[in-house]
């Protein structure tokens, strides 16, 4: 069964303190790895899709990278507004276009 594991479960950073979130996956024939941001009480907001090892994508203070076994979401000089839960997902093994999500990393950035 395809698995998506995220670490750490929770991360507390001071404003400006850069760090990385990890998403490891076991999927046969990866058809994309997806990163989402979820704020409390809201639906997930799409951030990035990565399709092949070595691929990188950036958006403001976020950069996502992909290897054959894991993906990293690097957060550079975070601000309090970056506080959220970050979810990664891979295509669902049974339903081709649905997503199988990890449990997420809850990020808190303090001033």
């Amino acid at each position: 069964e395809d698995q998506v594991t995220q670490s750490p479960e929770a991360l507390r950073l001071q404003e400006g303190e850069s760090s990385s979130l990890n998403c490891s996956y076991t999927v046969s024939g990866l058809r994309g790895l997806f990163w989402y941001r979820q704020d409390p009480g809201k639906g997930p907001e799409f951030l990035f899709t990565l399709y092949s090892a070595g691929e990188e994508k950036e958006k403001e203070r976020l950069k996502a990278t992909l290897t054959k076994k894991e993906s990293f979401l690097h957060i550079t000089a975070p601000k309090p507004e970056d506080s959220a839960t970050y979810l990664c997902a891979v295509p669902h093994s049974n339903s081709g276009y649905a997503l199988n999500f990890g449990k997420g990393t809850s990020l808190l950035v303090t001033p």
Partner: protein, 115 residues
């Protein structure tokens, strides 16, 4: 990306009753999905809503408990039937548009509390 709305945004229901959640998209989309997010947990796929035919349910979810309709390419409903407190969750619809990429976009969710 598509703009997705859900109704109601939240509800508090009594055990044994049913609630129908609506998902409306501002453009035609090829695929629509329903997910559940239990308190403190990640998202779990309930079913794929198929236009003009019966929904495709994931293991652990059945049509009698979660009937789904999708009458056209912009609208779907999920009913949570004969509710129990264990059904208290956030219910989310998502869509994939007709493009080549697999990105999905989510509605704001419906927060359901069953007493």
């Amino acid at each position: 990306s598509a703009v997705i709305s859900q109704k109601p945004s939240r509800d508090i229901c009594q055990r044994g009753t049913s609630l129908t959640i609506q998902c409306q998209v501002d453009s035609q989309v090829t695929m629509m999905f329903w997910y559940r997010q239990q308190p403190g947990q990640s998202l779990t796929l309930i079913a794929t809503a198929n236009q003009g035919s019966e929904a495709t349910y994931e293991s652990g979810f059945v049509i009698d408990k979660f009937p789904i309709s999708r009458p056209n390419l912009t609208f779907s409903t999920l009913t949570v039937s004969n509710m129990s407190p264990e059904d208290s969750s956030i219910y989310l619809c998502s869509v994939k548009d007709s493009g080549d990429y697999n990105e999905q976009f989510f509605g704001p969710g419906t927060r359901l509390t069953v007493l």
